[in-house]
């Protein structure tokens, strides 16, 4: 006997929860399967930045890669609209605040980067403007005198990563979706016109095998996407990127904006409960298996160079952070792809199975979810998904064979 659903979502992060909620809202019978607890990995551990300007990692490798990265701007603009409306649609707060974000320059070269970056973004229709240091400090008195210029985008802000995913999952639950934690997918096989999902459900009593059937399967599994692709014999290449974040004890509000930097890895913001979140992409060390591949199920190790670098970057532009008591520095493992573009679309050669992951999947999560559901329904997805077609890697791997 197996249980039958319209759609099965694999992965209980923000994207999976958004998929389950949106599917359930359309009346679908949905099951969400999560091997751990909801929201425990990248979705709950990232900084929750809603950033739409090009990031440091996109501009640090030269102008060509910045131009390529800018092609994702429509997705970002769509995401900005999506986040602004999501809480109201759900009827629960997601901790979204869009009070604007800065990207800062402290050297003449960085000012030049900002100038070109701002012009490029404006071409793509992003509301962003370049300010000099004085203008920036008038808007943000917490900035140090070393700030020479700042690009300001009023759309930017933050969502609360602690609550956004679970809130969407609760929304799905209210609409009749099933949410099963400690349930790991171990096989995906065609069954009739749909798919059979084999999963292990773990409890204190032991393990139980489940067989669930659905017309469509949505893979929302972040770094575990590649493993799921292997179950389908399809190449869905992802690269885990272990990144460090730090959070302070609550302090009186003084940073209403998102703060990023054009010349170093930095993101800084203050949450609704007064804590200051500091990150920006400083790496941590992933544990490696004997064969050199990263072990995703073990905790990454912090690097001292990252602790030093991130702290210095933050104190440099927001001097008040020097004495802020830091309560936690932790590592979240985010997912990127070999060409830095997300994977969004149907899994090649596996009709009925869809996937999304890779690159800003928190910021873009709600947009990814809406696009996948449209694709599954045979509707146009609203944005051009061709650059993100998962088949691009399948073609490469076939060419190699």
């Amino acid at each position: 006997m197996s249980e039958r659903y319209d759609s099965i979502v694999v992965g209980g992060g923000l994207l999976g929860a958004a998929l389950a909620w949106m599917l359930a809202r359309e009346g679908a019978r949905v099951a969400l399967l999560e091997r751990d607890q909801l929201n425990q990995h990248a979705s709950g551990q990232n900084a929750g930045s809603l950033h739409f300007q090009l990031e440091y990692r996109m501009v640090e490798h030269g102008w060509e890669s910045a131009r390529t990265a800018a092609e994702a701007m429509p997705l970002h603009l769509e995401a900005a609209r999506e986040w602004a409306a999501l809480g109201d649609e759900l009827g629960e707060s997601l901790g979204v605040a869009q009070q604007g974000g800065f990207m800062l320059a402290e050297t003449a070269e960085q000012v030049e980067v900002l100038r070109r970056k701002t012009a490029l973004e404006q071409e793509w229709g992003l509301d962003v403007r370049l300010l000099d240091g004085e203008e920036a400090r008038r808007l943000a008195p917490y900035l140090s005198d070393s700030v020479l210029a700042a690009a300001f985008c009023p759309l930017e802000g933050k969502a609360d990563t602690r609550i956004a995913g679970p809130a969407l999952a609760r929304g799905a639950l209210r609409l009749g979706a099933e949410v099963r934690t400690r349930t790991e997918v171990v096989d995906l096989v065609p069954a009739g016109s749909g798919w059979a999902v084999h999963a292990v459900e773990r409890s204190d009593a032991g393990e139980r095998m489940l067989r669930l059937e659905a017309d469509t399967v949505m893979l929302a599994a972040g770094v575990w996407t590649t493993r799921l692709g292997q179950l389908l014999d399809v190449s869905l290449p992802t690269i885990p990127l272990a990144l460090m974040m730090s959070v302070s004890a609550p302090t009186a509000p003084f940073v209403p904006h998102l703060v990023q930097h054009a010349g170093t890895k930095l993101s800084l913001k203050q949450t609704g409960n007064g804590t200051v979140l500091i990150g920006g992409g400083w790496p941590a060390r992933l544990p490696l298996a004997a064969d050199g591949t990263p072990e995703l199920d073990r905790r990454p190790t912090l690097l001292q160079s990252s602790l030093v670098g991130n702290a210095a970057a933050a104190i440099g532009v927001v001097p008040r952070t020097a004495s802020l008591p830091i309560v936690r520095s932790w590592v979240g493992t985010t997912t990127v792809t070999p060409d830095q573009l997300p994977l969004v679309g149907q899994v090649p050669g596996r009709p009925g199975v869809f996937v999304a992951t890779g690159g800003s999947a928190f910021t873009l999560g709600p947009s990814f979810a809406r696009s996948l559901i449209a694709l599954a329904d045979g509707r146009p997805p609203g944005i051009d998904l061709h650059p993100y077609d998962p088949a691009r890697f399948e073609r490469l791997s076939h060419a190699r064979r």
């Binding site: 004890a249 001292q304 210095a312 004495s323 830091i326």
Partner: protein, 493 residues
Amino acid sequence: MTAAHDLVVVGAGPAGAAAALAAADAGLDVLVVDEQRAAGGQIFRTTPPEFGGRRKLPTGYPWAGELLDRARSHPGIAWRHGATVFGILPVAVDAAAGADASAGPGSAGFDVLTSDPADPARSGRVRARRVLIASGAYDMPVAIPGWTLPGVMMAGAVQGFLKSQRLRVADRVVLAGSHPLLLIVADQLLAAGARIEEVAIARGLPSPVELLRALPAVPGHVRLLGELAGCVLRLLRAGVRISTGTVPTEVLGDGRVQGVRLARADRGWRQTGPARTVDADALVLGYGFHPSTELARQLGCGLDWDSAQGGWIVRHDAQLETTVAGVHVAGEPSGVAGAEQSRAEGELAGLTIAAALGRPVPERALAGARRRIRSASRFSGVVQRMFAPRREALLELATPATEICRCETVTRGTIDGFLDENPFAGTADAVKLACRSGMGPCQGRYCESAVAGLVAKARGTGVGQAGRFAAHIPVKPVPLQAYVALADDPPAL
């Protein structure tokens, strides 16, 4: 490249001091880091040197003075007092010249990250070939209505103020708990001129069977038991009311403690009768201890749930090495067992670390340390069994409005509500992420067991299955600038 210490010991209590001494005697270069101003740990806290006067140590541990004196004057031991170890990182194998890349994390040693709360600029890192976690224990929190009011203090806190600061925290005091320390603190408060309004002991009197079982464990610990008996005698002689089978159900007061509600409890510590009010300025809680395991957690060491031994304890082998190679544990983090056993474990850990680093260690010395652990554990085992906290019953003292997480002011109602609305959540960490309980400055030390207890109750599992909070760097909050201080070469010590 800075020279590494052979061994960095975290904690200067009986375990840490004994380990440092044994290791240094065997020829190791040892650094001890401790948050207090002087060696001795919580149990041997004494007045600061500025006060003058003679050192006073508890009478139950005749070896303490000599241990501390020998350790302090040993040329092979460096001391860093007033410093917090806020994290330990294995040195990257590829970053350490000549290290064996196949030997795994820790084979190239560890960077011990320290901060000096009084002078953040003095923060830095120290390299160690091996580390010993001897970080002791802290008083077990018990969330009861009103326990956040100023005037509610832990037994260890009150005793610390008396012993090391000659400060009586209040005039009129109620003490509630189940651990023998409670009676010692009551006696000390009495001697300090406080009025002991009542001592409420959760358990009943020991049954004849329990006493019979306890007898074989007594030899060698007569002084300790004698001290305890003396406390009870003096309290009774002073007319102090000692109520057994009694639990506190609420702390009353506006802005500070003004009274405590006490009620009868059954053998399982569950309230049976109506509560009565006792006027008081302070409530002292003493239900036992939780081991300080945060560094072991942060390092990724395995832990096991053992309620009688204090909750989550660090898994270790017969050599007291944890599941992370090169990281050892001694004293309360290996299971709360008191000063006697801590000292013996410290000694064994110090010796085995010295042997592992190639120093000659006589088998006789190892055997002696093992014998002392066995002997001490017979006594501590009995104490653990007799005074094991009834955690489920204590948890029921919390009402929906009671704050479980003191830092983030998260109530039991909030946590129970979250568990109701989110049937897919089933771990302490899931509650932490969603409710913020455990995210504040104490990093969950004072709410973890209650949060896990609520999860276990809601999901029908055990507290151990509900899991524990992950620990991260910094294991105690440090100013952001302490991170920048890690950039320089470790300061010479």
